[in-house]
């Protein structure tokens, strides 16, 4: 316990990085998810195909492989393009950027499915009722589709977020000084790896438990007026 | 004198403070078809479910061919003394449900032989032969390898009846067997039940089908608010209802 207190700043810094990374990638993945759902539901064949390929690749390749590809390979690619075109000099992609970008894109695929399912879950009749009331497209989206979509998407959203939060731990493998990395470093230098990894374990558990409770409260709020199954 | 096929004495059932059954006693001799009528909430389904202990009655006793289903109290909760005895007696008290309740992951044939093979220990071959005969009887010989979800409601209910028959029950309990069916499918199920009555099966039928009660039953019982309000031969009962409640019920049903 004393050891943990001694290293509390390092752990705290790691925790902050972890949360920042998770939130940054969440913003990206929700954006990607909305775009993906729109593409999957659109009438355009090309958009369907692109969105389909996107979710298939993400499902087919493990997160860490993609993170490493973006971090190591992306770096080289960006600099080769820079050298070839002369548009920019040597650029370094940070671990944080690589991690946020990759995890954001990966979970964008999961959010795509969540949002697509949520939109499909809205009873057609309600949309038709909106149209027949004379609502315009944007008004229909804002007043009828969006509020209901939020409700149907919440369980999937919560699930994705919890997984996403845990997935950020993988970015420590490419050297981002997040919670896992800092705990591991402290553990290694003090010879108390169990103590520090256990601390990381408990902190992650606290993060997911708090998220879980928050999400449940949100779900209760948004499921008003809906019969419980 | 032989024991009656089924005798129940003073069956009571409460859910919390609410007493649904207020002491029901009745006897069914072998070959009796007892139609149990009553408005919704009269406790008729609960009564049927108390007989085979799908609901544990708060009080009362059930005898099947003279054998008492032994009950005991444990920390204020009634429960059977011997669950093996209960299982054995249930296997002789086949039930047909309102919602069919076929096992959805089994084919029609598997549904019918499940009880005989795994409860009664009938050899599989013999059970299959018998099941085929029962399917012929309910008019579904060509559906043996279908899954329940691929059958109509009326067909599912006929399979459920075949499944009940396969146990060679002493008494058959029907819990509103036609209530979940589309009107045009009711007839096929009632026809099968009529045939069973003609064979001399002992049946307790909770139903809303007045014509069935009047024409087929040997005894009709009218339940009201958890009590037997009127009972007797259907011919008398339907011609001269004795109580206001039964009169009101009949006029509502017509």
């Amino acid at each position: 316990m004393d050891l943990l207190l001694e290293y509390r700043e390092q752990l705290l810094a790691g925790l902050v990085t972890t949360v920042q990374l998770a939130l940054a990638s969440l913003v990206l993945s929700v954006t990607m998810g909305l775009l993906g759902a729109w593409a999957k539901l659109s009438a355009s064949r090309a958009a369907n195909a692109v969105a389909g390929a996107y979710t298939t690749v993400v499902r087919g390749v493990p997160d860490l492989v993609l993170i490493m590809l973006v971090f190591f390979g992306g770096q080289v690619t960006v600099n080769r393009i820079g050298a070839a075109t002369g548009l920019w000099n040597y650029v370094e992609i940070s671990q944080f950027a690589a991690g946020a970008l990759t995890i954001g894109i990966i979970f964008g695929a999961y959010f795509t499915e969540t949002f697509r399912g949520a939109i499909l879950a809205i009873p057609r009749g309600q949309i038709e009722a909106g149209i027949s009331t004379g609502m315009s497209g944007p008004l229909l989206f804002r007043r009828i589709i969006w509020p209901q979509m939020v409700r149907y998407a919440l369980p999937g959203f919560g699930n994705n977020w919890l997984v996403q939060l845990k997935t950020t731990a993988l970015v420590s493998v490419i050297g981002l000084q997040d919670l896992v990395y800092n705990a591991f470093a402290a553990g290694r230098s003090t010879g108390a790896l169990f103590t520090f990894m256990a601390a990381a374990f408990v902190i992650y558990l606290a993060l997911t438990a708090v998220s879980d409770l928050g999400l449940r409260a949100l779900e209760r709020r948004y499921s008003r007026g809906v019969a419980r199954a | 004198m032989t024991d009656p096929a089924l005798r129940v004495e003073n069956i009571r059932k409460s859910f919390g403070d609410h007493e649904v059954l207020k002491g029901i006693s009745m006897t069914a001799e072998k070959g009796d078809v007892v139609a149990i009528l009553g408005a919704s909430g009269s406790g008729k389904s609960t009564f049927l479910r108390c007989i085979n202990l799908l609901e544990t009655p708060t009080d009362g006793t059930v005898w099947l061919k003279g054998e008492e289903m032994r009950m005991t109290s444990h920390r204020g909760e009634r429960r059977p003394v011997d669950h093996r005895q209960v299982e054995r007696m249930r296997s002789k008290l086949a039930m047909v449900f309102q919602g069919f309740n076929l096992w959805s992951h089994m084919t029609v044939m598997e549904n019918i032989i499940e009880g005989p093979v795994h409860v009664l220990g009938t050899p599989r071959r013999e059970a299959r032969d018998k099941a085929a005969a029962l399917l012929a009887k309910v008019g579904l010989s060509d559906r043996a390898e279908y899954y329940p979800a691929h059958l109509s409601g009326g067909q599912q209910q006929r399979v459920a009846i075949a499944r009940a028959l396969a146990m060679e029950p002493d008494v058959m309990l029907f819990d509103e067997p036609t209530s979940a069916l589309d009107p045009e499918l009711v007839g096929e199920v009632l026809a099968v039940m009529r045939a069973l009555a003609d064979e001399g099966r002992t049946m307790l039928v909770v139903t809303h089908e007045m014509a069935f009660a009047r024409d087929v039953s040997s005894k009709t019982v009218f339940l009201n608010k958890g009590e037997i309000c009127e009972q007797g031969a259907p011919a008398d009962l339907f011609r001269n209802p004795q109580t206001e409640q039964f009169q009101a019920f009949l006029s509502r049903m017509n």
Binding site: P62, N159, F184, F201 | S104
Partner: protein, 253 residues
């Protein structure tokens, strides 16, 4: 052909030369993934039955296990076991140390098993809870014993209902198995990283790994599609084929 190959941005010859290593990596990945799935799955069946029951002591105990293992990253679980166990002298002196706890492979297997066991338990619990009540009542009314109801009615139908969700669990366990490469094991990703490090490459090792994982996921998806066709045909025909839900089943819920 020569020209074409030299134009291609990846050094295919180098990949081909080291392909036997990648095959070894495939063996390690598949071995760890499917062994842990088998062990975790075997463990999950009784635990799910407990979770679906209302046992006053066991149910909360199992719930704590599944909550904890689903609420923390697999990477941290694996590190805790592999790096953490050695902190204690009594562990290092125990008979388990040399053959098991000091071995990366065993630590990975144990951590993966506990992890997938937790997810599978909850997934099965859900499937058991979804058993139509009437089907259980029909079994009771037929006189089938409690045991027979579980083994012949409830579990067979729950296993079938769980197939689509379980296919996700299998794929996510495969994804999760890359954690093995972080504790020195030469799984597919481990070999890919080794190749990149050995020849100072940016893509070859990782892209080969990505392709191999992709092929395995494709094969798993195919197998499950077949399983669903075979074991879920008893369900009503639906408009859409069995939900191809790609949402990860790893949340705490």
């Amino acid at each position: 052909m020569e020209n074409l190959l030299s134009w291609f941005p990846l050094d295919l010859a180098l990949i081909a030369e080291n392909f036997d290593r990648f095959l070894y990596g495939v063996g390690v990945t598949l071995g760890l993934t499917f062994l842990s799935l088998a062990l975790g799955g075997a463990m999950a069946v009784p635990l799910a039955v407990v979770r679906a029951s209302c046992h006053r002591v066991l149910n909360p105990v199992v719930w704590v296990y599944t909550y904890v293992f689903r609420g923390t990253p697999l990477l941290v679980q694996t590190y805790l076991l592999y790096y953490g166990a050695g902190q204690f002298e009594f562990v290092r002196n125990s008979w388990l140390w040399d053959p098991v706890l000091s071995q990366a492979w065993w630590c990975a297997l144990i951590a993966f098993t506990l992890n997938t066991g937790a997810y599978t338990t909850e997934l099965l619990r859900g499937a058991i809870a979804d058993t139509p009540k009437g089907e259980v009542e029909a079994a009771i009314a037929t006189g089938i014993s409690k045991r027979g109801r579980l083994s012949r009615i409830v579990l067979p139908s729950a296993f079938r209902r769980a197939i689509p969700a379980y296919s996700n669990e299998v794929i996510f366990m495969l994804h999760g198995s890359v954690v093995a490469s972080t504790i020195t094991l030469q799984d597919i990703l481990g070999v890919g990283r080794w190749l990149n490090g050995r020849y100072y490459l940016a893509y070859e090792g990782l892209i080969t790994a990505a392709v191999l994982y992709f092929i395995i996921v494709f094969a798993i998806t195919r197998v499950f599609r077949w399983l669903e066709r075979r074991y879920l045909r008893h369900l009503n025909r639906r408009r859409e084929p069995i939900a191809r839900n790609i949402a990860p089943p790893m949340g705490v819920k």
